[in-house]
Subunit: 495 residues, 2 copies
Amino acid sequence: MADQPVADETAIPVVIPRRLDPEDAQLALQELQAILKRQEVVDALAQRQHEDEDEDGSNLLEGMLQRQHEDEIRQIVNALHPADIAFILESLPVQQRQAVWQLVSQEHDADVLLEVEDWVRESLIESMDHEDLIAATGAMDADEIADLAPDLPPDVIAEVQKGLTDAERAQLIAAMGYPEDTVGAIMDFDMVRVREDVTLEVVLRYLRRLHELPDHTDQIFVVDRADQLRGTLSLSRLLLSEPDTLVSAVMEPDVLSLNPMDPDIDAANAFERYDLVSAPVVDEQGRLIGRVTIDEVVDVLQEDSHEQELSRAGLQEEDIFAPVLAALRNRAPWLLVNLCTASIASFVASRFEDTVSHIVILAFLMSIVAGIGGNSGNQTMTMIIRAMATGRVTGANITQLVKRELQVTFLVGACGSLVAATFAWMISGSYAVAGVMMAAMVGNMLIGAALGVLIPLLRDRFGKDPAVGSSVLLTFATDSLGFFLFLGLATLFLL
Amino acid sequence: MADQPVADETAIPVVIPRRLDPEDAQLALQELQAILKRQEVVDALAQRQHEDEDEDGSNLLEGMLQRQHEDEIRQIVNALHPADIAFILESLPVQQRQAVWQLVSQEHDADVLLEVEDWVRESLIESMDHEDLIAATGAMDADEIADLAPDLPPDVIAEVQKGLTDAERAQLIAAMGYPEDTVGAIMDFDMVRVREDVTLEVVLRYLRRLHELPDHTDQIFVVDRADQLRGTLSLSRLLLSEPDTLVSAVMEPDVLSLNPMDPDIDAANAFERYDLVSAPVVDEQGRLIGRVTIDEVVDVLQEDSHEQELSRAGLQEEDIFAPVLAALRNRAPWLLVNLCTASIASFVASRFEDTVSHIVILAFLMSIVAGIGGNSGNQTMTMIIRAMATGRVTGANITQLVKRELQVTFLVGACGSLVAATFAWMISGSYAVAGVMMAAMVGNMLIGAALGVLIPLLRDRFGKDPAVGSSVLLTFATDSLGFFLFLGLATLFLL
């Protein structure tokens, strides 16, 4: 960079360039938090002063400080990319979030609203007045308005609709009609169509008149008069071929086309497998009605994996600063279910009170048998759910998979139960207890493996997502049956 | 489609078009499995015949059938996209996989090898001879060879190196040197560079001479004489601007540039946040050395989420048809760790043998207290790990988060423990037992919440991935402390 001219230091105030770097956003967040903390101190002092003096005279300094803080925040926030502003808003508690949101310049409003997660958007829209909302949504495309629609007040939607062309209004209504988690809900209507019987030169002239291509345009779509999709023309083909070539000569006729009612995750997996950047969406009659782009697909994949991560702990996406009561609603149901299953399992065990009262040491060993069965079954279940998600489990290989899982589990169980039996012998001093421990452990691990295959298969057969709830059911079974097996064997052989 | 000409039915044999559709691949897999099953029957019959008759005469029919089956397989498999072929190979047991792989036409070899998962690639390379491997890798780029290098025999790598230019050889050596999980390991060297002081017309002429652009080229890179990155020029800007414009006038100077030693997941998150399709990679001196594309990023994101999913059950990616012993190595360690922690927890509990022998019903309640603490702590931990992964946890809000988690947990615990106390009263008939149950449960849930925050924070502070191993540690603590708390309180108040 040595040969660059030295910047003139008397020039206009420094404009912070909008850098694309998540680390910058992280630093900006920390600066903002420091400023907000200083403002809190000012507020607290002012509060105390009011109480002490009961007068309004010293508001001057307070107001000055507040304006200074606001200026600082405005400068930091508005220099960021809208996606970074969204990140910052997501990372602040509701009150601070709304305070910062007021300072975000209006030009970013639309982009930020589209970027933030659902649970934050609500609190942002709440703090905006009618005019702000109209201004922000007025610049959006139909599919973007549709994304926001559930959170917008009805009068705003009504007024925004008035500003749309008939075609856009039809698109908005269509987009609002597609269920969540379908291709229709993530597609946009922003695409370039051309005919196959024109030359590339004509296409190029047409594109230049557009002034701008939609984001993520890696290909344009070739349609006939009835809007039937005939193929796609990639921008690189368009750039590299001779201008007098016909579109039909260089277009790709075999393309993945999606249906608006396809599950979005299927479309996302197709993008992943075929390394796509965009794909056309056609209706039942083969007419081109929209397109899906890779940025939406990445969001679908990430959201899907986050949802699974959370649902495994019985949670939904939650504002980490949401009121305590909202969090309660999120967490209690799953814990209650677990509490009930644990109670039933312990009720099963309590039927052997007599046995346990004779050989108390069994009480401390039984939870090992139950736990290891659950852990082992969970491994099997994770493998099977993964294999099912990738489409690798078919009718033809399922018996083979089950046989293999049982073999593996038996082997692991045989080794593990030697360790467990040794431990049982050490704390009980009885070979008989150790033997029962061994048998019950291998038995419960086999139960876990069998259920680890069966539960996801059955849930899938009946059309439910195989991941959700499966682990609760599995743990319930391995706990109850583990207790039953261990204490039952003990009752038979040790009393 | 009514106005299309009807296909001439006397024409050349039907060529199955290469459709991009994961469902087609799924169907192809099922067809293949059926054919392979038929072949197995033929093999078994032939085997029995050999044993019975001990002669070689009837090999004719057998050979004919086998050739027919091979033709069928060849036709199905080679009509698929290489990514679908990879999917099919991943879905077959080793022997069948290698048999089908022999029938994949050589032109797909390179693409399929690059597409398949690591645990399958090994078994494919094993079944290829030296010439096949040279042919397949000869057509690859330096970064692709580097991806395969760990699985290739050294003599193949040596021979392939001979076919490379000096520049390519330097790239190959560089690419092989970057650690896994860094940007360097996913970048490619396939990109177009231009100078900023030329017109777009010059750029267009230069591109036409290339005949083909690298995959996922949404932008070309602008560099100076010293190869320093000055900015990027998007294909759509190039297409839409007047040909006599200078590159410097329409290029984007503020771009995200990556460093080859950055963690790949950081780069992936930046792609996700800023909706990128490609990004330049520069070295410490600001020189452009490669680029990362969205297809690699999607793979990184997916692999990361799959790894996390598996690691939560103590697993690594495993060939679902791997030999039983390989599976044993994958699964045993984690189960053994769990077995040990469970044994220690039950050893802790066994110190209260005297208490339990007096009030046997405690034996059946203690596992409820331990379990619910683990479940609740797991919810907290999942929330915190998620918030940490998105960068939302900073020094400024950590106290607030901890306070909130403890509040939520206390509330959930208070409600839940009422249910648990009722159950305890029902099976014990004692208010005292119910009271101890309540206190122990709330206490253990608070322990779980505190550890659910602390464990990921500490692991992160010491530079370890916060997800792995955290749940084992948490369960160990809530089990041991749950037993201790419950039986300890019972000893104090009930004896």
